[in-house]
């Protein structure tokens, strides 16, 4: 059975990857993921804010107390001993590269041009085989138009792309006026893959303490459908690898994503829930499903249910909506 796939130009043994998650923070789990058959590992994101704030925070918390009191010209061991978020991240990539034989994909998360872009190059030098740029952006400024926003995003992608030689994937939100157009723009810049989609962090409200509270829930299989639709729409419209992320829990979810056009499928929630070994279950499941249906490789499956190839493409477009509404009314 040939499950091989082209993922951002990397030849992977199969399309099911552990996505960006805290699993990579634990070397034991990293090894278990490799043992479970992970063809590559995606690092969790290094945030622009993390890079900029932590560096300046160190400066702030450490330096401002130095040299102001005769008995203590400093309060911490020498700077070099402190590895904060960004450096720790690079060090972790190095260690994971040493510990496993599969490629490691770095992940950066940022929305404004700035010094953090340098970290793309640093991630590459730390040994990452590819980079995923997560563009988690919340437009809150009414004076910035959609076009402005997109222009800004493209500038950032361009800067990041220019800083590295390894392949680059861009992880997007589903909220674009024209995702196919934006995808094409990304392709022009040279982006090698599109990850659909990042899951918005949605704060809750504490009604007693009058505070917004951080909240993050694991994904649900129902979330896959949004991905399926856009994979199906984008497949064939771009040469970039399409990657599903969010809502992939079971073997059939993997198969659906590939059918819609995904060249790779990222899994997180189910691995957090069932452990790294769940990856093996998914791989075996895919393999045996293909075997039972006499598929020899992924090639005929990939995109078979895309807008371009599906026997009932209208189901993926507005017509489906209309029909469903009518069904519901009746």
């Amino acid at each position: 059975m040939n499950l091989e796939t082209n993922y951002l130009g990397l030849k992977l043994a199969h399309p099911i990857l552990p996505g960006a998650s805290p699993l990579v923070d634990n070397m034991d789990k990293v090894r278990r993921l490799e043992d479970a058959g992970a063809p590559a590992l995606v690092m969790h994101s290094l945030f622009e804010e993390q890079i900029e704030l932590e560096l300046t925070a160190r400066h702030y918390h450490q330096d401002r107390h130095e040299e102001s009191f005769g008995e203590a010209t400093s309060y911490f061991p020498d700077d070099d001993e402190f590895t904060l978020g960004p450096d720790e991240y690079l060090e972790r990539i190095r260690r994971i590269r040493e510990a496993v034989s599969v490629p490691v994909i770095g992940s950066l998360n940022g929305i404004r041009l700035g010094g953090w872009v340098d970290y793309a190059g640093l991630i590459e030098r730390a040994g990452a085989s590819a980079l995923e740029l997560n563009m988690y952006f919340l437009p809150t400024d009414a004076s910035e138009s959609a076009a402005d926003t997109e222009r800004r995003m493209l500038e950032i992608v361009k800067a990041v792309k220019g800083a590295i030689k390894i392949p680059l994937a861009v992880k997007l939100s589903p909220f674009f006026s024209s995702l196919p157009h934006f995808t094409q723009e990304l392709e022009v810049i040279g982006v090698d893959g599109i990850v659909l989609f990042n899951r918005f962090y949605q704060p809750d409200i504490d009604i007693e303490n009058l505070e917004a509270t951080p909240h993050l829930e694991l994904s649900h299989p129902a979330e896959l459908r949004l991905r399926l639709r856009w994979l199906a729409i984008l497949f064939g419209q771009t040469k970039a690898t399409l990657i599903a992320s969010g809502g992939v829990h079971r073997t059939q979810d993997v198969i659906k994503a590939v059918m819609a056009g995904a060249g790779g499928v990222q899994v997180v929630s189910s691995l957090l829930k069932f452990g790294p070994e769940h990856l093996q279950t998914l791989i075996k499941g895919l393999s045996s499903w293909m075997e039972q249906r006499e598929y020899e490789s992924l090639k005929p499956i990939q995109g078979s249910m895309s807008l371009r190839h599906a026997p009932n493409p209208e189901a993926l477009e507005r017509a489906n909506y209309l029909r469903m509404l009518q069904v519901w009314r009746t």
Binding site: L55, T56, R58, Y75, P77, E81, L210
Partner: protein, 1200 residues
């Protein structure tokens, strides 16, 4: 820092201080270090520890071992063991630390052990503690059998570290190599570093081998440490004489060898001056540099003077001394940097007198006149003018003996007058003074400037930095010299060519321009437009600028910093201005070098930080303006007096002078003779530190008083009062209806002390009351201070005059506890300090009856560092009586206070029945049997005492015992003894005493302000440091859990123990303090204290306390042995099982981030720490649930 090993090419010259220079040599020449932090030697220990963590090698290719001990006494024991087992071992210490080593010094010397101890010499605590330099400590060791070698500059300190080590190996006599604390240990100057090759050439490998061969080993067993009897002890003690006889020669030989290798020649007694001098000063340490410089100046004026610098003080070689002294000398003055009260003279003087007498007794020579004098105690300035005064005195037929110089002694009239205007420095020396705010980075930038000029140009550079006694809003003064020739000036700059004031408000408080030379450049950082600066200057500053014809430049560096995204860090901006204006380097070159150094300094901190600094440099010159100085327009407001005019006389005469930085001018008669100072002085020093202060919104406030409780500086206060009290209130004074069932119809007010608040924001952060429509707004919000200060000053003064509540009527909950008057206020602790809220609460609850024994550390510094101190009194004049004994003995000291108070109380109880007929039986009975368990009980007893006093006073004078019992009456009111200190004291150096005191059953209350690190000396690891936290001496994160002091104390079963965290549960904190005080035996309270050494913003301190408890890192509990009497379990856990992962707490603090560079280790450590927290909490749960035994007898219940 000098690279410690195998550096292929050594730079010709580096700029560093003696601590750095000595550590570099000691590191390379030793196997092992047993260390303990003490100012000012701490940096040496930190450096060697840092290098071991980086696996740097010593001369023999090994990474030395570094072991932090629990005290210097412990370090000395470990050193003795190391040496006996054949190691080359060393350590660094000062002051009391050195005293703690003395017993082992005798042993090490008695056993003829090669060893070199490096000492940054410092005063000993006598009438007061002083962290500063003199020779009191090393002179207290001159009898131990150690050789004493004295260095006078960073260069000499480095070189002598090597020479001492070479000589100890050859002579077998152990060496104490010392240099002046701060003046040399912290002075940055040019040093030619020593290469490994030189060190290797200096160290005799056969001597090393011989030392190794003498090691205790079972393969060739010997016995040392015998007990000897009268028959042999004496002879055996004399058997080592030949070794001492040879030592001076060995040291001189080592110096000669060193000269051959390096070109730097030293003599054990080194004469410098006119070859046929008539007047000679004999001196040790950095003072020798000053004398030498002055001698050169006097010789130019034709005076026949010289200086004999003593390098090797012990063994004192009479032969070498006499040989070095010019035969022509007619009078000698010996200068000692220490005081030996009651002695015939100070130590060096006595040795010189003996040497001269011994040397000349067989010769037919006229003895020169010899006098001795003291100088420079506690880092008192020692200047060329003072040296000249001493030489001038020697011109007299009978010069004054046992004189002092550098102070005005108007009591015993020992002091010599000197010309304070005399300035002998060459005009080619460029001198600059910088007045900076502690947190603005001025010192760091100036160190960098010294490095740039000293290492990258042909000039020599010197930097010395004077720090404030306060930890918040502190002023730093940087003294920088640059010169084409080496700089030998170990004293502060008197007149400067460049004066910079980096913090505008300093102009209101200090005479910044006093030291500006005529025509000097004055650079001022001031908010607002430089064009409008003139009229905002105090009149005195305007006058000084005109009178001295200063070139005046101004910049709003805050604005430049803000725009460059650097917050309040103005250091690079002001450094750029200095280079642009001073002309020390061509401007373009200077800017280039600053930028290079930014890359080097901040490169490791990320591009962003580098970029911000570079942007700041580029914007600086555009923002810098020369101010047009009007010749006569003195329109500024005169500077306000340092202290309010209604301050008590002593404060006017003494404290105010010290506050204005002019304490040097005070004569001896100004001072208390025994170190006794008045309390309640911090209120007179209104420092206006905060840029923003809290402003109260009465409509939103729920009157919980949590802000008052959390305030570290007692600058936000609440009162309730009768409506009528509002009469005469200032217009802007705010009050609202008091929400209280107990006090209907009263008003409530929350008021900030606008000039004392540090702006830490803890109060705002703990405030739970939010505006419902706009939850970002709270019942208190920070607003700019300058616009509020005038009105709030008036409001605060009015507020203070409102009546304090009747203590007997105030309910005991958290809210009401905060109406009690704090008797600890406006301390110099850091903004947002985590310790002081506990101290303040203690004084609110019991301060009017407390004696406080305070261990040395942060709490003794903010508690007792002059000029002003925070402990104060209530309206009746009662308040905490406070004292600091030492670091190591505080529990014992506190116990002593308790015993004395008990003894006085027992005495009055014994006497009282004899006065029954005069006082009345009922009164005497009530006085003796009074229940003083409540405030009401205390008040009633005070009333009885007052009644008894009146009756006793009415007795005829001369009535037997009248005065005695009158004096004792107050002891009938219950007094409590509090023993305060940090974790360095309680867990480490003072633990033995603390344990013993707990075992005595006596009624003392121990409050451990636990920051989990040695805060005062800069964040060294203590046994309280938790697993995974990085601290100095555990730079990669501590791999083992912290000691559970509470659990250990509980094992007595008779000690009240509580662990508290105000930010997690303030009611538990309050309850624990009250229970501890009421418990009639020993009590131990361990209080979580957030600290700047944890690495986060202190306004979040209380939040972190909560997370510490929620994660299980800091379980809070109370263990009350009394509960056992009622069949209850003494241990009550006051928190729930851990509800959040440990990482949720630790991730917020920089100290837990050090191990992350090694992810696997970090992961393991994180897991172990989490496991430990869980299992440790389970242990507590089991203890709380288990059956318990009978509380042992003698638990203190029966102690009175």
């Amino acid at each position: 820092m000098i690279a410690p090993n195998n550096t292929p090419s050594q730079p010709e010259r580096v700029t560093l201080d003696a601590n750095d220079a000595v550590a570099s040599v000691a590191y390379r020449l030793n196997d092992a270090f047993a260390i303990y932090p003490i100012t000012p030697s701490t940096p040496m220990a930190e450096i060697v520890d840092q290098w071991t963590s980086r696996n740097r090698l010593n001369l023999w290719g090994q990474v030395p071992q570094v072991m932090e001990m629990q005290s210097e006494g412990g370090a000395a024991g470990a050193l003795h063991g190391l040496l006996q087992a054949g190691a080359l071992a060393s350590s660094f210490t000062s002051s009391q630390g050195l005293l703690l080593m003395i017993p082992n010094l005798y042993k090490i010397a008695g056993e003829l052990t090669p060893f070199c101890l490096h000492v940054a010499a410092r005063s000993l605590a006598t009438h007061a503690l002083s962290i500063f330099g003199d020779h009191s400590d090393v002179m207290a060791c001159r009898q131990t059998g150690f050789a004493l070698l004295s260095a006078g500059s960073p260069q000499e300190a480095q070189d002598f570290a090597c020479i001492a080590q070479a000589a100890t190996l050859k002579s077998r006599v152990p060496f104490m190599h010392f240099f002046d604390g701060f003046r040399t240990s912290h002075e940055i100057n040019a040093v030619t570093p020593l290469s490994d090759e030189v060190l290797r050439a200096m160290i005799d490998e056969s001597a090393v081998l011989a030392h190794r061969r003498r090691a205790l080993t079972p393969d060739q067993p010997v016995l040392r440490g015998t007990a000897q009897n009268p028959d042999v002890f004496f002879q055996a003690r004399e058997s080592a004489n030949p070794y001492y006889d040879r030592t001076a020669g060995i040291v001189q030989a080592a110096m000669d060898q060193f000269a051959e290798l390096t070109g730097r020649a030293y003599r054990i007694f080194e004469y410098e001056g006119y070859p046929e001098a008539e007047r000679v000063l004999v001196v040790m340490g950095s003072g020798g540099e000053t004398v030498a410089e002055t001698v050169a100046w006097l010789r130019e004026k034709g005076e026949k003077v010289g200086v004999l610098r003593v390098r090797l003080f012990r063994p004192f070689s009479v032969e070498h001394f006499l040989a070095a002294l010019p035969a022509t000398v007619r009078s000698i003055s010996v200068l000692d940097r220490c005081k030996e009260p009651g002695a015939a003279g100070e130590p060096l003087y006595q040795d010189v007198v003996s040497a001269l007498w011994e040397g000349h007794q067989n010769e037919n020579r006229t003895q020169p006149v010899v006098v001795g004098g003291r100088y420079g105690l506690g880092s008192k300035e020692f200047t060329p003018a003072m040296v000249k005064a001493v030489f001038d005195e020697l011109k007299h037929e009978q010069p004054k003996n046992h004189f002092t110089v550098g102070i005005v002694d108007d009591v015993t009239h020992h002091s010599l007058p000197w010309d304070s205007e005399l300035d002998i420095e060459s005009p080619e020396v460029n001198r600059a003074l910088f007045y900076g705010l502690g947190s603005d980075g001025t010192v760091g930038a100036n160190k960098n400037t010294v490095k740039i000029i000293g290492e990258e140009t042909d000039n020599f550079a010197q930097g010395y930095f004077v720090y404030d006694s306060k930890k918040s809003g502190a002023m730093t003064i940087s003294h920088l010299r640059f010169s084409p020739r080496p700089i030998r000036a170990p004293y502060l700059i008197r007149t400067a060519d460049f004066v910079a004031c980096h913090h505008f408000p300093f102009l209101q408080r200090f005479e910044i321009l006093e030291s500006a030379a005529r025509g000097a450049t004055f650079l001022l950082n001031a908010p607002g437009e430089p064009e409008s600066i003139w009229k905002r200057l105090p009149r005195e500053v305007q006058e000084a600028i005109v009178e001295k014809n200063l070139r005046f430049y101004a910049i709003d560096a805050y604005k430049v910093a803000r725009e460059a995204g650097m917050g309040g860090r103005t250091n690079i901006i002001m450094q750029t201005c200095f280079f642009a204006l001073s002309g020390v380097l061509p401007k373009e070159t200077a800017l280039e070098k600053i930028k290079d150094s930014i890359e080097k300094t901040y490169g490791s901190k990320g591009r962003k930080v580098v970029e911000k600094n570079l942007v700041a440099v580029d914007s600086t010159l555009a923002a810098l303006r020369e101010v047009n100085v009007p010749r006569e327009a003195f329109n500024g407001t005169p500077r306000p007096p340092a202290i309010a005019e209604d301050a008590p006389d002593f404060l006017q005469r003494v404290t105010a002078v010290m506050m204005a930085n002019k304490g040097d001018l005070l004569p001896v008669s100004a001072f208390p003779v025994d170190g006794t100072w008045p309390t309640g002085t911090s209120k007179w020093e209104r420092r206006n530190l905060a840029t923003h202060i809290p402003v109260w919104d009465p409509d939103l406030c729920i009157q919980c008083n949590k802000c008052v409780m959390a305030c570290p500086h007692a600058t936000i206060r609440a009162k309730f009062f009768d409506k009528e009290e509002l009469t005469g209130a200032p217009q802007t004074f705010k009050s609202t209806k008091f929400r209280s069932r107990d006090f209907p119809d009263h008003l409530y007010s929350l008021q900030v002390a606008p000039e004392d608040c540090t702006g830490c924001e803890l109060c705002v952060h703990v405030c739970p009351a939010k505006d419902k429509a706009e939850p970002g707004r709270k019942a208190i919000n920070m607003e700019p201070q300058p616009e509020l200060v005038a009105q709030e000053r008036e409001n605060y003064d009015f507020f203070l005059e409102l009546p304090a509540p009747d203590r007997t009527q105030v309910p005991g909950d958290v809210k009401h506890s905060q109406f009690l008057e704090p008797l600890f206020e406006y301390s110099g602790a850091c903004a947002g300090c985590g310790e002081t809220p506990y101290v303040k609460l203690l004084t609110q609850l019991f301060g009017d009856r407390s004696l406080i024994a305070n261990a040395t550390g942060c709490s003794s510094i903010y508690g007792g560092n002059l000029p002003t101190t925070p402990y104060t009194v209530d309206r009746d004049g009662r308040g905490p009586a406070w004292s600091n004994s030492l670091f190591e003995d505080n529990a014992e000291f506190g116990l002593g206070l308790r015993l004395a108070v008990d003894q006085r109380a027992a005495e009055v109880r014994l006497l009282l029945p004899d006065y029954a007929s005069k006082l009345g039986d009922d009164l005497v009975r009530d006085l003796l049997d009074a229940d003083q368990g409540t405030e009401t009980g205390i008040a009633a007893q005070r009333e009885r005492v007052a009644g008894a006093r009146e009756k006793l006073k009415a007795l005829p004078d001369g009535e037997a015992g009248k005065e005695r019992i009158l004096h004792l009456l107050d002891y009938l009111v219950k007094k409590n003894v509090w023993i305060l200190g940090g974790d360095g004291w309680a867990y480490d150096i003072g633990y033995g005493g603390l344990d013993h005191v707990m075992s005595t059953g006596r009624d003392v209350n121990i409050l451990v302000l636990d920051t989990e690190v040695y805060s005062n000396t800069g964040g060294q690891c203590s046994k309280s440091t938790p697993m995974g936290a990085a601290a100095k001496f555990f730079v990669k994160g501590k791999p083992l859990p912290k000691k559970d002091l509470g659990l250990i104390a509980m094992t007595y079963g008779s000690v009240y123990v509580a662990r508290i965290a105000m930010g997690a549960k303030d009611s538990q904190t309050l309850q624990a303090l009250k229970e501890a005080e009421s418990y009639p035996g020993p009590s131990l309270i361990i209080a979580y204290s957030h600290c700047i050494a944890h690495g986060y913003s202190m306004f979040q301190g209380m939040d972190q306390q909560k997370l510490a408890v929620q994660s299980g890192a800091w379980p809070i509990f109370r263990y009350d042995p009394r509960l056992g009497d009622h069949g209850k379990h003494p241990l009550q856990l006051d928190c729930r099982p851990p509800s959040i992962p440990l990482s949720e707490y630790t991730a917020n603090e920089l100290r837990f981030r050090a191990a992350k560079g090694d992810p696997e280790r970090a992961e393991k450590m994180g897991r172990l720490a989490q496991d430990h927290v869980r299992s440790h909490f389970r242990l507590y749960e089991q203890l709380a649930a288990s059956s318990f035994g009978i509380v042992p007898e003698g638990n203190g219940h029966d102690q009175k």
